[in-house]
């Protein structure tokens, strides 16, 4: 195998008769951040735990920086992980939380001190170093968890929904911050989330997962413009893509921002509701081919009866049964 980064080769994990992961293969080069995106139960967290060694694999191989770590003990994998709950040791101060791992790895006191002060500085935790986790805010706890993960100079950083315990505004502020700290280093990053905005904002590439399969892997732009199937098309994009009633075994998907009002032709539509979004508005339309959501400029006052069409070339066709995209 190639030397740098993380490679998963046909990873499967079965629990009794249930298949949690199905032949997962992916590659994350050093310095890249890959987001695993999907609804709960899709296998994204399991993938992360398999890489960390907290869950065993049923078959397949895991390579990290050129080493086969498939059967390696979690403590010997050089993995830095940020848990969803942050998993900070409640009985230890911020400093104690950072120091414990280094003590276990028998790092000398001088070296421990040097590394801890560097990371405290980097994450702006110097003033908080004597506090207990219970005395920290959610964002501060996240920084401590991140510091702990980075401190051991890991070969890979794993993050399990690190933003899910924070409020929306803080998340917006933290996304670029997190990206600056994590990405472009000497290690690859795996980032698990169910929030597409977070995935797009932080990751270089995104793997959309469902039912233990990787549905599609690519840049956010690829996934949005060229989804391989209906699941990916529906999962990405907010407001969600419009799926019209199927005709002759095919289904038409139209993103709300690609729908236009026209004078002649197109579909007859009746306005059933308006949602004002500030800079834009979302119109709810009723047509004979199903309901449509349409995104338009906020200062346009739509008539109750109108005709709509879509930007040519932006429509997506799916097979009705399989959901696969037809090109």
């Amino acid at each position: 195998m190639s030397s740098g980064g993380l490679q998963l080769e046909n990873i499967s994990r079965r629990l009794g008769a249930r298949s949690l992961l199905h032949e997962i293969s992916l590659e994350v080069p050093a310095g890249e951040c890959l987001a695993l995106l999907g609804p709960s139960g899709c296998g994204k967290t399991t993938t992360l735990r398999v890489v960390a060694g907290l869950d065993p694999v049923s078959s397949g191989r895991i390579w990290l920086q050129g080493r086969d770590i498939t059967r390696l003990d979690p403590g010997r994998r050089q993995v830095g992980m940020v848990f969803q709950s942050y998993a900070l040791y409640p009985h230890l101060s911020v400093e104690g939380n950072l120091e414990l791992g280094l003590e276990i790895r028998r790092v000398t006191a001088a070296e421990r001190h040097r590394r801890i002060s560097t990371i405290l500085e980097l994450l702006q935790l110097v003033e908080l170093r004597h506090r207990r986790p219970a005395q920290l805010s959610g964002g501060q706890r996240q920084r401590v968890a991140l510091a702990r993960a980075l401190l051991r100079q890991p070969d890979i950083v794993l993050l399990d929904e690190p933003m899910s315990n924070l409020d929306a505004q803080l998340r917006d502020n933290l996304r670029p911050e997190l990206r600056r700290l994590l990405c472009g280093g000497r290690h690859p990053v795996l980032y698990v989330t169910h929030d597409q905005q977070e995935a797009m904002g932080i990751a270089d590439r995104i793997a959309v997962m469902s039912n233990g399969f990787i549905q599609q892997l690519g840049t956010a732009r690829d996934l949005y413009d060229q989804p391989v199937n209906r699941f990916v098309a529906e999962f990405l994009g907010r407001p969600a893509i419009n799926l019209l009633l199927p005709q002759q075994g095919h289904q038409l998907g139209l993103r709300p921002e690609h729908i236009r009002s026209v004078n002649t032709g197109g579909l007859e539509a009746k306005l059933t509701g308006r949602e004002w979004l500030g800079n834009q508005q979302l119109l709810n339309l009723e047509t004979k081919r199903g309901q449509l959501k349409m995104l338009t400029s906020a200062d346009w006052t739509p008539p109750t009866e109108l005709r709509v069409s879509w930007d040519q070339g932006r429509e997506l066709w799916f097979e009705e049964q399989s959901g696969e995209r037809v090109k």
């Binding site: 060694g53 907290l54 979690p74 992980m81 998993a87 040791y89 009985h91 414990l100």
Partner: protein, 312 residues
């Protein structure tokens, strides 16, 4: 405080003073039944015993309480049997509780492991605790009976002489500790198991990622987080073991030669055998004071442990 502020929002509360007094009187009213119960079963007997301990009340006085101006207390201070029993009870409590904490922790850690039949095992482990003390004390007395008990039967079959386990002070004491440990280790294990289950699994996983061995995980994570639970066990068990009565009465009746007599047993003997209720009250209160000091000690040690943790 919550209770009071809750009532401040009510429409009938026209000003803070009124709502405060209203909340206070209402909270007292709601506490009254519990306080009354405590007064009847705890405060009243204590006061009554305090009163009695300053009176002579025995067969000699015709079971009429006659004030004797602290003669009971003076007698207590120079009563060799009382202090001997106090030492014996302390030794019994210290050794039993110590063993129970160690074994209980081991048992709790074992029961905490995932595995088939865990539920059944947990129930099985609790059985000794569910058994009435009298019944289990009789059981142990039979097991160590000389020469008909199973252990002596085994010794005889092996061609060894039978042993008077319950007629030699040293072995009798050991049997009483064994019986107590056997019965109450499950209780300690249950409390500690609850403590273990309150520790989130991802903390354990974070330690595994640090490369910590099972021993390091126990010492650096599990034990520090269990300290409040260990303290609680200690408090419960020390108080219980210091007042041990039924186990000793049935198993050895304080013998041989008073070597296993506990303070509770001595107080009981004074009242029920020697019919000296005044002195019995002094013994009982003396034991109560000892227990207070001991409980305070346990609390101080626990607090010290937690403070030490906070410093590191």
């Amino acid at each position: 405080m919550n209770f009071i502020s809750h009532f401040q929002g009510q429409p009938f509360a026209t000003n803070k003073v009124e709502s405060y007094s209203r909340g206070k009187s209402l909270s007292l009213l709601l506490l009254a039944p519990a306080l009354a119960l405590l007064a009847i079963v705890f405060v009243w007997p204590l006061l009554r015993y305090g009163w009695l301990s300053f009176h002579a009340d025995s067969v000699i006085t015709g079971l009429v309480a006659i004030p004797n101006g602290g003669a009971n207390w003076i007698r207590l201070l120079s009563d060799g049997r009382f202090w001997q029993d106090a030492l014996q009870t302390l030794r019994f409590a210290g050794v039993s509780v110590g063993l129970e904490l160690v074994l209980g922790l081991a048992l709790a850690l074992a029961l905490h492991q995932r595995g088939p039949g865990r539920g059944v095992l947990r129930v099985l482990c609790l059985l000794p605790w569910a058994l009435p003390t009298t019944v289990m004390a009789l059981g142990w007395r039979w097991i160590f009976n000389d020469p008909h008990g199973p252990i002596n039967a085994l010794l005889l079959q092996l061609g060894l002489p039978s042993q008077g386990f319950l007629s030699t002070p040293s072995t009798t004491w050991l049997v009483s500790v064994l019986a107590d440990v056997w019965k109450t280790t499950p209780f300690v294990a249950l409390l500690l198991l609850a403590g273990l289950q309150s520790i989130p699994t991802d903390l354990e996983e974070a330690m595994r990622l640090e490369g910590a061995s099972p021993w390091q995980r126990l010492r650096r994570l599990t034990l520090p987080l269990l300290i409040p639970y260990l303290g609680l066990c200690c408090l419960f068990r020390v108080a219980q073991a210091m007042g041990v009565f039924d186990l000793i009465q049935v198993l050895t009746d304080g013998g041989p030669a008073g070597s296993t007599e506990s303070l509770a047993l001595y107080a009981y003997l004074n009242a029920m055998r020697f019919l000296d209720f005044g002195y019995s009250a002094s013994v009982m209160l003396g034991m109560f004071l000892l227990l207070l000091v001991l409980s305070a000690l346990v609390l101080v040690v626990q607090r010290r442990f937690q403070q030490q943790q906070e410093l590191t």
